[in-house]
């Protein structure tokens, strides 16, 4: 990606590579576990790797996999796993001010490899250095991508290879809920997030009787409403105190 470009943009590529490399520690176990879980669910090697290459979205792949195993109807599987990926619409929107002027071809490629880590790291850097030229921003983005996506493909494959070798006594199926917990636990850093997660769990139990895993959709919608309402309430409360006390910043 960085060949026949300026030295500055090549440097930006390697900087992105370096900045994103700590996430390898997460990507490797996560993708390996997906490979293991997918084989456990009865997919063949080619299917596992194809799914990772076509979708590249761990949480959604785990969601689809577990719902498929439950025998949920296709539209429920899609609705739930696409809901998990809706957060990427926010990433896409957040990248526009920085990468929106790149060529359509590049933007199409950048969209394909847009994942949580690359989004988080690159936007952080762009915001810290708004004067960075476009071609360097693009190179930086691809530096981030390479270090996350290559291990993603490779380790899904390795996990799928290993999958059958893992004994049932190690409860490999437990890796699926554990991966989901690993994904959302670090998000529980504010009151609205905690409330949303709490409503999500409660509603999942209350509506577990609904057919076709509809309980999941109902629980997710209620939890989103709850999170947003708590946030609105916090903003209202803050503006009220600010009219009495002068704003701090």
């Amino acid at each position: 990606m960085s060949e026949n470009r300026s030295p500055a943009s090549r440097a930006a590529f390697w900087r992105g590579f370096r900045d994103c490399s700590p996430f390898v520690v997460i990507v490797i176990p996560f993708s390996t576990l997906f490979g293991v879980a997918a084989r456990d669910a009865g997919l063949d090697l080619f299917q596992v790797v194809a799914m990772s290459a076509i979708v590249i979205a761990g949480a959604a792949q785990f969601t689809a996999l577990s719902l498929l195993q439950d025998g949920a109807p296709v539209f429920v599987v899609l609705l739930a796993s696409l809901a998990v990926n809706m957060r990427m619409a926010m990433y896409s929107a957040a990248l526009v001010p920085h990468l929106g002027k790149a060529s359509l071809r590049l933007r199409m490629l950048m969209a394909y490899v847009m994942v949580d880590q690359t989004y988080a790291v690159s936007v952080q850097t762009y915001e810290a250095e708004p004067q960075m030229p476009l071609d360097e921003k693009v190179s930086y983005y691809f530096g981030c991508i390479i270090v996350v996506c290559i291990p993603w493909y490779l380790c899904t494959f390795l996990g799928a290879l290993l999958g059958q070798a893992i004994p049932v006594s190690l409860s490999p199926d437990f890796a699926v809920p554990i991966c989901f917990i690993a994904l959302f636990a670090p998000m529980l850093h504010s009151l609205p997030h905690l409330v949303a997660a709490g409503v999500s769990v409660l509603a999942a139990v209350l509506f577990s009787g609904l057919p076709w895993n509809f309980g999941l959709i109902v629980a997710a919608l209620l939890a989103m409403l709850a999170g947003a309402q708590v946030e609105f309430w916090q903003i209202r409360r803050r503006t009220r105190t600010q009219t009495v006390v002068a704003p701090l910043d």
Binding site: A111, I181, A182
Partner: protein
């Protein structure tokens, strides 16, 4: 068992749908912004969907024919705590590690 036809249908539709979500703003809408109320709701998608997905897996695991297992419950809570305090990688390590340890002693 997941049948081939369903698997490929879901994989391609999910791949396409996910791509369109990723492409949406960066690709099509240029600099236009989403309305604030929608962004506020989207912020909670992750914590709204994932816990609801995990809950039945912990309470009624399919591999145990849906019977509750207190060891899995404890391991899941340990993973949640480790994830919230220390981060992703700890959640995975603590979750699997504590289940194996508990199983070693109690079953």
């Amino acid at each position: 068992m997941i049948d081939d036809h369903t698997f490929w249908l879901v994989t391609f539709a999910l791949g396409l749908g996910t791509y369109l979500i990723r492409f949406s703003f960066l690709g099509l809408l240029g600099g236009r912004q989403l309305p604030d109320w929608l962004l506020t709701h989207l912020r909670y998608v992750g914590v709204a969907v994932l816990p609801a997905l995990v809950t039945p897996m912990i309470l009624w695991p399919a591999s145990l024919n849906g019977s509750f297992d207190p060891l899995r419950m404890i391991a899941a809570l340990a993973a949640l705590l480790a994830g919230a305090r220390l981060g992703v990688i700890w959640a995975i390590g603590v979750g699997m590690g504590s289940l194996w340890t508990l199983q070693f002693f109690f079953s």
